[in-house]
């Protein structure tokens, strides 16, 4: 048992750090640092840079373009990407649908989708939740009725993140209503967003932005070869996928970065005022969150170490999700408290690239802290709400 990095690991860390220093585009970094929303083009450009380096899909098997890295290497990479404040890969393709395709898909599907997903030529989105099926996902009603060599899909998916950017959507749909367990009638289907009958409508969220959508399917014809794996097995595949989503959702490295930014803000004297670092109570609150985060970092490392010796990421990933989002939201709150009155002006436009820095109200992009606090209340709701996670842990870990 030891905490040190090997010489090889140190060299790897330096290699990654150098890459981010040299290859991460300054204009995208400026947007990230200022809290400016990235465009679709920004995401794709950056992801293609990662792809060129071979680092677009660090968890994929090597045969499909993965890295073959050890858990420690992956951990170091996640740290560096966060410390560079670089965007993560948009998860829907590389992290979510691809593992389903390379595990359960046909050879044709692998050829058709994996290289283009890896190269960010396809933007995926997720079709799971429905207006009536949130926590109770298995009650989903979107139907895919077999008609010759097609399915005809009717229904509505919701909370579809960045669906307005997407080329393809992967969906859980009901192919059979006449089954003992309703989970058994669910299948996993890939749908081209350009197919007639697919419409995307924005959902404006609490902070006033469009991030999620409703996707409507009206008599959408999808070739049967877009079914992944077996009909009726979609629930099993989807569950696996959700567990992957949950480990990603903890966001430990990202929270470490944000915590370091908060310490920078605390040290500053804003408009000539007293630095917040002199407020002992705030310092205590921040230290308490940091301690929880350090613990979670080791909880994640322990999970990764267990996975490395062959254990599947199981219900433990629920713990990472719950604790990780609790910490994210605690940090959101502290950023807002640090901003004081300057959390209140609703001026996202002043953080567009063109807006002169010296005319900004407040003291920097932390003025967006309340908007971020509002937006990130989603963290404990999506990816399976934290209540659902607790149900899972209670059942599968505690045996209750």
């Amino acid at each position: 048992m030891h905490v040190n990095l090997t010489d090889d690991e140190l060299a790897f860390q330096e290699e990654v750090r150098t890459f981010f220093r040299e290859q991460y585009p300054a204009d995208i970094r400026a947007k990230q640092d200022n809290g400016v929303q990235l465009t679709r083009e920004d995401y794709v450009r950056w992801q293609k840079i990662l792809h060129q380096r071979g680092w677009a899909a660090i968890n994929w098997p090597v045969e499909y373009g993965g890295t073959g890295w050890t858990p420690v290497q992956k951990y170091l990479f996640e740290n560096e990407i966060a410390m560079a404040n670089a965007p993560d890969m948009v998860p829907f393709g590389v992290k979510m649908v691809a593992p389903i395709i390379y595990t359960f898909g046909s050879e044709e599907q692998k050829k058709r989708f994996l290289p283009d997903t890896l190269a960010s030529n396809i933007w995926w989105c997720q079709g799971y939740s429905e207006p009536g099926s949130g926590s109770d996902l298995a009650s989903l009603k979107t139907r895919a009725d077999r008609a010759g060599d097609h399915y005809v899909i009717n229904g509505t998916k919701t909370w579809t993140t960045l669906g307005h950017f997407a080329d393809w959507i992967f969906c859980l749909v009901r192919t059979n209503s006449d089954v003992a367990r309703r989970q058994e009638g669910i299948s996993f289907v890939l749908v081209d967003m350009q197919t007639p009958g697919v419409t995307v409508r924005p959902i404006i969220t609490i902070e006033g932005e469009r991030e999620v959508n409703e996707v409507h399917f009206e008599n959408v014809k999808v070739p049967v070869e877009n079914l992944v794996g077996e009909e009726g097995k979609g629930w099993t595949y989807g569950k696996l996928l959700l567990q992957h989503e949950r480990t990603n959702i903890a966001g430990v490295a990202r929270s470490k970065y944000r915590l370091s930014k908060l310490r920078e803000i605390m040290a500053q004297s804003v408009h000539g005022g007293t630095p917040l670092a002199e407020n002992k109570n705030f310092a205590r609150k921040l230290a308490a969150v940091e301690i929880d985060l350090q613990a979670l970092e080791f909880t994640e490392l322990r999970t990764l170490a267990a996975v490395a010796v062959g254990k599947a990421p199981g219900p433990e990933s629920s713990i990472l999700k719950i604790k990780g989002t609790e910490i994210q939201q605690a940090l959101d709150t502290l950023f807002m408290e640090a901003a004081g009155y300057y959390a209140l002006p609703n001026l996202p436009q002043q953080f567009t690239a063109e807006y002169p820095v010296d005319e900004r109200t407040g003291f920097g992009s932390e003025t967006l802290s309340a908007l971020r606090y509002f937006n990130n209340r989603k963290a404990s709701i999506y990816g399976g709400s934290n209540e659902i996670q607790k149900n899972i842990v209670s059942k599968h870990v505690l045996g209750l």
């Binding site: 926590s135 005022g273 109200t361």
Partner: protein, 376 residues
């Protein structure tokens, strides 16, 4: 000790409740928020016609002699209706300074228009560097001949964009954080040297940053005696703090009730989610938070009306409790509503934002817990 309210007080609360229910729907409110001023002149005039803008002023000032109880009843309802009209800024803050310090002539010029609803005003109580310390004033007012020359910056001036009249504390002597040496001025918002950067707040209210560059005013702009403005400022900010706490109690209760209702309607796993014990126990916790907040609100209101020397500390205690338990109630409401609680189209999201803004206004719960602990 008596918790009952008079028939007049009951009628006041009822009339505002009817207004909210009949004339201030959520859709209407959202349309008002989208408008340039972030409030409706027509609604404001309506409030004035019904006597609400006059309610908290003395008979001598043309009002109805309402006290903290009337204020509480009104603000609770405004909270329930998410009303964005600038009652706090005009009546309680700007009006609060004027009723305390203005001469008869100044009252005729300025207060009368606030009482009858014809004039928009603001109190610039915050400065960019000062966080929540209202005595920390760097804005200067220097004597030049028979004029005062004002220089400085004011942050988050509520109603600062629409206001024709800006009331502001400026330092006429003393150290930057001293309570003595603060003087209050009333200036025309369109005076030379006044720059306003108006915006909306995250909860849909109007506000502005204001910069004063060699703004020249006569002695007639001075409210009360020079250097002695702090106590009126502090009393007025205490009134404002109590007012937003009452508003918050209305919001908390509404969010709690809407959440309980939602869990009775929303079916998952074949049953209403309100049947899940984990959620039930959390909603009991939020109910208790609502009741405790209401209790401490009543305490502060009664102490304020009694003119108790404990009233100031009591308001800090209340603001602390509102800050912490209001945050909890609001977060639970969103969480239990799930994705729906995150959408712009549902009122829950907007209650959530207002509750969050109130936590920050006049100092957050940490600030007030410090004040409460220091007063022991």
């Amino acid at each position: 000790m008596d918790f009952s309210i008079t028939e007049e007080q009951s009628m006041l609360a009822d009339s505002i409740a009817r207004f909210i229910d009949n004339d201030y729907s959520f859709d209407k409110r959202m349309a008002i928020v989208e408008s340039d001023d972030a409030f409706s002149q027509q609604v404001w005039q309506n409030c004035a016609d019904l006597g609400w803008t006059a309610m908290l002023f003395s008979d001598a000032d043309g009002g109805f002699d309402g006290g903290a109880v009337e204020m509480m009843l009104m603000m609770e309802q405004f909270g329930r209706g998410l009303v964005v009209e600038p009652f706090l800024a005009n009546v309680i803050l700007a009006g609060g300074i004027l009723k305390r310090l203005a001469s008869a002539e100044q009252k005729a010029d300025w207060l009368a228009g606030i009482v009858d609803g014809s004039r928009q005003a603001a109190l610039a109580f915050a400065e960019p560097h000062a966080r929540y310390d209202i005595a920390n004033i760097a804005t200067s007012a220097n004597r030049e001949g028979d004029q005062w020359v004002l220089n400085g910056s004011k942050a988050l001036v509520l109603n600062g964009g629409a206001a024709e009249l800006i009331i502001l504390p400026a330092r006429t002597s003393g150290e930057q954080t001293a309570q003595s040496g603060i003087s209050l001025f009333a200036i025309d918002a369109s005076a030379a040297g006044v720059t306003r950067n108006a915006y909306k707040t995250v909860d849909g209210h109007g506000a502005a940053e204001i910069v004063l560059s060699d703004v020249k005013v006569a002695d007639s702009a001075l409210l009360g005696k020079p250097n002695e403005g702090y106590s009126a400022l502090a009393e007025t900010v205490n009134d404002g703090t109590l007012a937003v706490c009452a508003e918050a109690v209305g919001i908390m209760r509404t969010m709690h009730d809407k959440t309980v209702d939602y869990t009775k309607q929303r079916v998952q796993f074949g049953v209403p989610i309100g049947s899940f014990q984990a959620l039930q126990h959390r909603m009991v916790d939020t109910l208790m938070a609502c009741e405790q907040a209401k209790s401490l609100l009543l305490r502060s209101v009664m102490l304020s009306d009694a003119g108790s020397p404990e009233a100031g500390a009591a308001i800090s205690e209340l603001k602390y409790l509102i800050g912490t338990s209001g945050r909890k109630v609001a977060q639970e409401a969103v969480q239990i509503h799930g994705g729906m609680g995150m959408t712009w189209e549902l009122d829950i999201a907007h209650f959530f934002k207002r509750m969050t803004a109130i936590d920050i206004l006049f100092g957050d719960s940490d600030f007030h817990l410090d004040r409460a602990a220091a007063a022991k």
